[in-house]
Symmetry: none
């Protein structure tokens, strides 16, 4: 199962969004994370050119967004639902971090429809709306100013959902061809000889010079091509061209 | 050490931001995650009412944002720098996920100034800007549409930085004193001059020699003492003692 398949059952529901630009920004946030199912409950102004503008390359997600008359209706068919909120609620579902919630969404979402629910820009979700959900998720923000912009909050939570889908399957970026042990040792030998020749390294009092230089290059994990360049540099020091 | 202390040494640098609203959104993103040091390199329109508007409760972060004439200047004093990018680069620093980069930022940032760097909305960072940084970080997004809005990208990366800071007080092993940006740039200047003097580097056909060497040393995250040794080595090459 790849990431895209794991994300198919996840819908994102926005309740009572006031600014159309935020709806567009949320559509974009979803699409960048591989999510496509956006639901709008009572958007205040929609459709709207500002939504299109901020959706940018996610116009398709916006165009396919379904409107609902209530959160209850938008959650139809969902087997597991997560309400995103910035504050602790009395008598509500258990509260977890966005990261933990994302992992559970991916787990259940593997086989059944699930939903992520966000409230409006000023007051968030109502108690009744939160009451319809299974779990409360929060983004651990700075307690002195925890007010994320709606689009930014949707971006962070969708990001966590995608990372959960990728888990154990995180993208790995190609490592260039690293130099083999022998090549590197030959380079060190060459380096030491050159430093002795220039007088920088006194064989009678080597101090910790070679160990220090080895440690530096070792940290860099030299590539094959880099070792060639470095040895070329050393050669040029021993036999400089006359300029 | 609490989260707030761990975040004090982290600055966020925005290069060539076009839309003032995005600068405001970034200020807000920083503040929600407990970051306060915003740097602006050549913002296209700033100050601007739209920046204030989108900063919302983070007007203080916006007001304290420092302007710089170059990324080089904005990185002054930083011991470890991370460039955020959406694409894989040739001959650049190693690429890791935002999560991995955040952990390293927090590790080094515990004792030394560090920086997170973002490019502009359309083209991102230039090759030269990326070349000034130690590590490349990317947000694992959907490969078919990976274009996050600038404010959203800053929000996600700052979020990861905060989560890394909150991560259960991991045993920390002392990080040696890393060389500051300026020291390292001075070393590169010295290195280049020396290579030209020995004839290894032909200024008329520099090829990719300096970018390759920068990339190598950048990966190693040079320590202050190591830079001194390397400069001593270069000096000894220019004026060898007769043995």
């Amino acid at each position: 199962v790849n990431a895209a398949d794991k994300l198919q059952n996840i819908r994102v529901v926005l309740c009572g969004t006031v600014h159309p630009g935020n709806i567009g920004a949320c559509a974009r946030a979803l699409k960048t994370m591989g999510l496509t199912d956006l639901r709008l409950v009572h958007p205040v102004r929609f459709p709207h050119p500002q939504a299109e503008w901020l959706a940018s390359g996610a116009a398709d997600v916006l165009a396919r967004a379904r409107r609902h008359d209530s959160l209850d209706e938008a959650l139809e068919g969902a087997a597991f639902t997560v309400a995103c909120t910035a504050r602790v609620r009395e008598l509500a579902a258990p509260m977890v971090t966005a990261r933990v919630a994302a992992a559970r969404l991916i787990e259940v979402g593997a086989t059944q429809p699930v939903a992520l629910v966000f409230g409006n820009e000023t007051s968030g979700l109502t108690g009744a709306e939160v009451g319809l959900c299974n779990l409360l998720a929060t983004i651990p923000a700075d307690p002195t100013y925890s007010s994320l912009n709606l689009g930014a909050a949707v971006q962070v939570v969708c990001y966590e959902v995608r990372q959960a889908a990728l888990a154990g399957d995180m993208p790995r970026y190609a490592t260039p061809e690293l130099a083999a042990h022998r090549q590197i040792e030959d380079f060190y030998t060459d380096l030491e000889k050159t430093l002795v020749a220039t007088g920088f390294l006194d064989p009678a009092h080597p101090k910790k010079l070679m160990p220090r230089l080895r440690r530096l290059f070792s940290r860099a994990r030299l590539e094959t091509e880099e070792v060639s360049i470095l040895r070329g540099v050393l050669r040029s020091f021993r036999t400089p061209k006359i300029r």
